[in-house]
Subunit: 462 residues, 2 copies
């Protein structure tokens, strides 16, 4: 059964590509068109309800670029399609990526039309990697950008990722955990992600646990005896307020044994009213330190409304809506050619025009350290004074030239960037005024206009 199970791993990831990348590549090889070309990866638009993107996914993208190979098995499969030339299949046998890549570090805030990753490589190499790079970065950026909003809405309270059961498959569950932790979540329920990425893991009991004991109090007592220092009791299986009183009974019994109940969790009902009542009950019973965790169909809007209405919460568990970016379940990241050996390139289609050439993105801050504007310029232009360049060289001629930061460093970088966002971009309700100025240098703009005009002229003549 294994062969049809469909795991994607480092061994077979090179085949996770759109068929047309390979048919184009074969054609380029036959026509001697393997000179260097440059492609930009950028997002065209902000989706509804988003005012910025948070960059995540670079580490996985680099792993792919450095390690992708076509196995004999992969080549045999391609041969069986009776589409590809033997010359191309031979070429793939020794394929590896020799290009140069510039990218924004993970944890960087960015905006539409800004290249977040730029590949310069022999055309075939640059082309074949398109699908995987987009798959990795589109998903990770989407998750991180959504999670950032949830973290902002929680106003300093902890947010834990509870999404694995609703994420789009196993890799999504891993990417959501990593991206949401970088975005400021404090933990994930996903044990494998905890192991793979060093993210704190969290979770205690489900309703089925409570239902497996004769009474709720029996269940609480059993769990408290098993986890004397970190039990969080789920109190809404039957009646939330009665559950809170049962939790207080158990908290007292724990206290008498020198233990401490960590918290209670509410997963349903009118969370504003119930959380306040539960807090009152716990306080009256002498347990002001027992934490209140809220969960159940939460997202940034719901959390904002709960807190505005006076809900009492120390932390939130957020699942489905964060893990699927439910209100904006895709971002339209694209990968476009901007230069080749014949010169600069632009795509002409109305509304889809691209910026030609190898570019850098600069960020300007105001005196208070708040992000003021970005500027996209040609790489060869002198860097503007006082601006921070966002693209770093990460791979040079196929070799990693970038010290991959650990996940805590990336998370700190993201927190710093989010702190520097203009207040209007941090609003949960995204208003049409919540825009951020991204300029194009005069030289780049002139060049683009010139190339568009020239390309149209050439096209007219054919």
């Amino acid at each position: 059964m294994e062969p049809t199970f469909g795991w994607v791993t480092s061994e077979n990831m090179a085949l996770l590509t759109d068929m047309y990348e390979l048919t184009m590549a074969d054609s380029y090889l036959r026509h001697g068109m393997n000179q260097r070309a440059t492609f930009d990866l950028f997002v065209r638009h902000l989706p509804r309800n988003r005012a910025f993107f948070l960059n995540v996914g670079l580490e996985q993208a680099l792993h792919y670029l450095l390690n992708m190979r076509f196995s004999e098995d992969a080549i045999a499969y391609l041969r069986s399609q009776k589409v590809f030339s033997e010359e191309f299949l031979t070429y793939l046998r020794d394929f590896r990526f020799h290009g140069t890549v510039w990218a924004m570090p993970e944890g960087t805030v960015f905006f539409p039309n800004e290249p977040v990753l730029r590949v310069t490589a022999p055309r075939i190499e640059a082309q074949i990697v398109e699908t995987f790079l987009l798959n990795t970065i589109n998903a990770s950026v989407m998750y991180a950008s959504k999670a950032t909003r949830v973290v902002i809405a929680a106003q300093g309270r902890g947010v834990a990722d509870f999404s694995p059961r609703r994420d789009h498959g196993t890799d999504a569950a891993m990417k959501v955990a990593r991206a949401s932790y970088i975005a400021g979540c404090v933990a994930t329920s996903n044990v494998l992600a905890g192991h793979a990425y060093g993210i704190p893991i969290t979770g205690t009991m489900a309703h089925s646990y409570i239902m497996s004991f004769p009474t709720e109090l029996d269940a609480f007592r059993a769990f408290a005896s098993d986890y004397p220092n970190n039990a969080v009791l789920l109190i809404d299986t039957y009646d939330t307020l009665k559950g809170a009183r049962h939790a207080a009974i158990v908290a007292r019994e724990m206290q008498q044994r020198g233990h401490k109940l960590r918290g209670v969790r509410l997963d349903s009902g009118d969370l504003v009213r119930l959380s306040r009542e539960v807090r009152r009950i716990l306080d009256e019973e002498g347990f002001p330190d027992v934490l209140i965790f809220l969960s159940g169909d939460l997202n940034e809007y719901r959390i904002r409304d709960l807190l505005a209405a006076g809900a009492v919460a120390d932390a939130f568990g957020v699942g489905t809506q964060m893990g699927t970016s439910a209100d904006a379940p895709y971002i339209n990241g694209v990968y476009k050619i901007v230069e080749d050996e014949s010169g600069l390139k632009v795509k002409l289609s109305t509304g889809k025009a691209t910026l030609p050439g190898r570019k850098q993105v600069y960020r300007f801050y105001n005196g208070q350290g708040v992000m003021e504007r970005d500027l996209i310029a040609l790489e060869e232009e002198p860097p503007p004074k006082g601006a921070e360049p966002l693209l770093l060289e990460v791979i040079r001629d196929g070799e990693l030239v970038y010290d991959l930061p650990d996940i805590k460093t990336i998370r700190a970088q993201a927190a710093e960037q989010i702190r520097c966002l203009p207040e209007r971009l941090r609003a949960i309700e995204v208003s049409p005024e919540a825009t951020y100025p991204v300029g194009v240098s005069p030289r780049l703009a002139a060049l683009r206009d010139e190339i568009v005009a020239r390309a149209r002229e050439v096209e007219e003549q054919t």
Copy 2:
């Protein structure tokens, strides 16, 4: 870098679980609560814009249940959390699934509240597998249910999955390809999915290919010479109608060499008007057999509208919106305990009531073979006459007892089921009247009411 890259494989999949499954399991072990229990996997509601579900994901679920193991590495990680008992870690070392599973075959249409998979196993085994089963089946069912709608909208024309760049990570790209093929798509652009699952793969060229040649005509000629029998030319990079004339020139040149242009693809613009014009141009030039492929932000609504407005299309390439199930990016599949050694179980919460006990789902057809109604009954009840039982035994005491059908058989089964859907459920616009009757047997209903009453009584007394 590999350790933090986060591939999920057969070796580490056991850890892809919510932390609370493991804390509950440890508690069950300590309290001697490892008697057999039964859990149902079912979906609570139809999402907006869906009138039915198509079951996909069972093969992966079975692979998981049969092969999940906790490696020494996994156990060492769990120990490092300082949460679990040594007894439990020792138990995990020899863990394997010994339960019995009944499930609907892949390619079966199903409805809310119907158990699509049922696990009876020692409580700890049944509990630990929850997260992975939900992750796998929620995602696959969501994709298959969405793709079925796209296939219905295309009215017999081919639909190809073009989604890998926007799917939620690598596993999602594999699941979308497999689920959409089962749902009736004819091909995928995902080469690895083609290899892993034996799905036809498709794809030819991108705009960047056209832009890599001095002129569009140069690009068409190059590609035609490379792929003399299966070239599909992308004609909308500059001017679609001019592109169609260039394609006709190349088609004639191919004809003179004894070759044949397969088709043209339009990816932007007013597809109704342009596709009709392109068809006219190709017909006038003597190429009525050259196919027209449409793509570009398509979904079932768009395809329905295009065809209703007279667009000419032989096939569609559908990406982002199908691959992310964009209008309903999650389904709320749940996994609930329905029986344990103390008897039948129901969840009490209003609106979340469950049906107790081990159950079977029966389907009734009318004289024309159209699905008429389903009935959920206790397994022990005599099967109603003339009804088809939908749940089959697939694993017995930890051993596979089900002949896994190949993907073509599953796809044929799905096609047959979709053919038997009542017409009202096939409408792209889902109306409130488009419901399907799912009944509960009188005995099961009485049992549920009795257990609810008894459970409330017990709860009152505590």
